[in-house]
Symmetry: none
Subunit: 209 residues, 4 copies
DNA sequence: TATGAATGAGGATTCATTCAT
DNA sequence: AATGAATGAATCCTCATTCAT
């Protein structure tokens, strides 16, 4: 007699894997449906994990959300594996951001861009709020640093403004593609769109002269 | 002792005003907190109106949300009072969009830009979904029409893409200002930002040569 | 200017007719859907009458139900127009009851037998409870009197029991026809059923020898 | 001081028993008060069970009602433990039905005959409607089969009609006893009533010659 | 008399969380 | 570590009723 088959197939007692399964399921649901519309039971079901384990491992739904957010923040912060910021030129940062727009595989996020994670909700609690800000500020800082390195005469304020405008454009594009999935922006040829974006982004940051 | 505070002060029986009060309160809460986190009780309390009247006047929470969305859609559709689309040049549309960014008073929306209304939620039902799309498509169409009128050699696809990129920028700016209210983009001098935006927007739509 | 046409066609101020309209609408709804599932708004809509008038004329929903019940009780009590009981033979009462089963037109009750009015609900309040009993007791008494007049040697108890058994059969038939509208009992030839019922009813009351 | 009364006394975690407790409480309330007047809170309170567990175990109020109905249907269907119909003579079926009238203990149904469960309401949903019909049709079929086995010359239609008339009488008796608990039919000597019913039932089904 | 606006109580249901095994 | 039973708070909504015009 196989114990595994006899009982409703109790989960192997592997804390690390359970945690990871929950994170993956949560990532997808939070991105696709937002914080409030995502129920813990749905996450648990997706992960084939008992609901109570969410509280065990992450304390609460908020905690799980924060964990997901935290994890996604590290996607774009442009640091090396040790967590140290990497020196980059503006065009390298641009390229990295553009790559995130089309070339990367976001299937872990249900096919949506991870930025939707941040935008879908006002944020359940101060922790999430802080994480959200940190993620964005990291990107702004990274771009701003690159810009000032490239063009030393630029003031910090001007570089920040440019960086934030560039980031705005990216955020806006992600959102509009999400809201209007059948329109030109979402269906345009990837290569052409990349070129167009690059042109605009250079214009924004005055790197085009 | 204030008589106003002592008695529950039954509401004046004015359906029009009650409806308007509910709409105003809903507008604010939906914009600030999103659909799910907004409770009907909170809206009713804000409006000093009995909760049941929301169902009376709007059928359901969804119905109220749709009404708010519908109303906000008409803010940017660029039509005259009779609802007919107005002929505009690209720069006029730009100006109108820019005006929406800073100069207008969004206190009715809790100080947030009404576009946050659309972005906060996946949408409670198909009706809201449709309204959301319609609102965005109206703006895209309006801008696209203006661009092609200005530069007749532009293809429809190209004009649409430019329009959507411009709209993306605006959406992104609104969102980033919302998420990072203390950073440069949110605190920058209004006049300078307008000029910068205009420059970028012209570059996007290639109206700068 | 015609005042009748200008405003949303305010109802002619005819108290008697309004009352009657409400009663008719209520009769139908209560019979078809039972007390709880019938809403005052539905009755009012059917009667083209403002909801508040129900309270005005009948005090409450309970009051309206009681009025309907009271009215229907007089259908089977076998009294003359002045309300005095009529002397009948058992076979006359049988005939009258049988007539109620098929020959009469119950369109006022939505096509259902008025007895469904009594059975549909436990009764909203003591008044309705009392009315319900009175209606049934009247029929029992009428039949019992007739039986004892026909067969003087019968004891009061025996006559009552026979009467109640006869009434039971009628009630049961009405109900089963209602619950199984496609079965034999509900679709049988009216004439044959009447004969069969008469035979049984005679057997029950031992009037067959 | 009673420890039992002091603390809210969290329920023993026994799913089977909880389900059974809910069913029992529901059975009683639905029979006594009908579907609409029965609140889930009342059932839960009777069963000393948290309200939410009704949804957990039965999905909804409708689901619980259907479960109760389903269970009560099996009371009279005359099948063996494996669910196979039992061959019976008409008099055996009569006896079984008569037993249900007096001899059995219906305290589980609040002292009412379980048939009241079916009659109290139009039925919350199609499922309940179907169950109701099935229950009745089972009894009709059972009786009809027995009649035709006893008297082979009887046509199917005639047997069905007789069966439905017999069932009508039983239904009517249950109802009249319920509505007039102080009258002869409800208070008559059990033994005598049984004999009388048997005589009538034989007469209805023409098994008396 | 008639209207429709306003009210408050109550109902079913969903969900995050805690507890005992 | 994992399970699933139990809990209570919160939400939307419906309805009978009352009030002002």
């Amino acid at each position: 007699m196989d114990a595994d088959a006899a009982v409703p197939a109790s989960r192997p007692r592997d804390a690390t894997r359970t945690r990871a399964d929950l994170l993956r399921a949560a990532r997808r649901r939070f991105t696709l449906m937002g914080y409030e519309r995502t129920t813990m039971r749905a996450i648990a079901a997706d992960a084939h994990v008992n609901v109570a384990l969410i509280n065990r491992y992450f304390g609460s739904k908020d905690g799980l959300f924060a964990a997901v957010l935290d994890e996604s923040n590290s996607l774009f912060d442009g640091s090396d594996e040790a967590g140290r910021p990497v020196e980059e030129s503006a065009s390298e940062v641009f390229a990295s951001m553009l790559a995130g727009l089309n070339e990367r595989d976001w299937s872990e996020y249900g096919g949506e861009h991870p930025i939707m994670l941040m935008l879908r909700n006002a944020g359940p609690d101060p922790v999430a709020e802080r994480l959200r800000r940190e993620g964005l500020l990291t990107t702004v800082g990274r771009l701003s640093r690159a810009l000032r390195a490239d063009r030393t005469e630029t003031s910090e304020d001007a570089a920040d403004l440019s960086s934030e405008l560039v980031l705005s454009l990216f955020i806006g594009v992600v959102i509009l593609r999400h809201l209007l999935p059948d329109e030109t922006l979402a269906t345009a040829n990837e290569h052409l769109l990349n070129e167009e974006m690059l042109r605009i982004v250079r214009s924004i940051s005055r790197c085009d002269d």
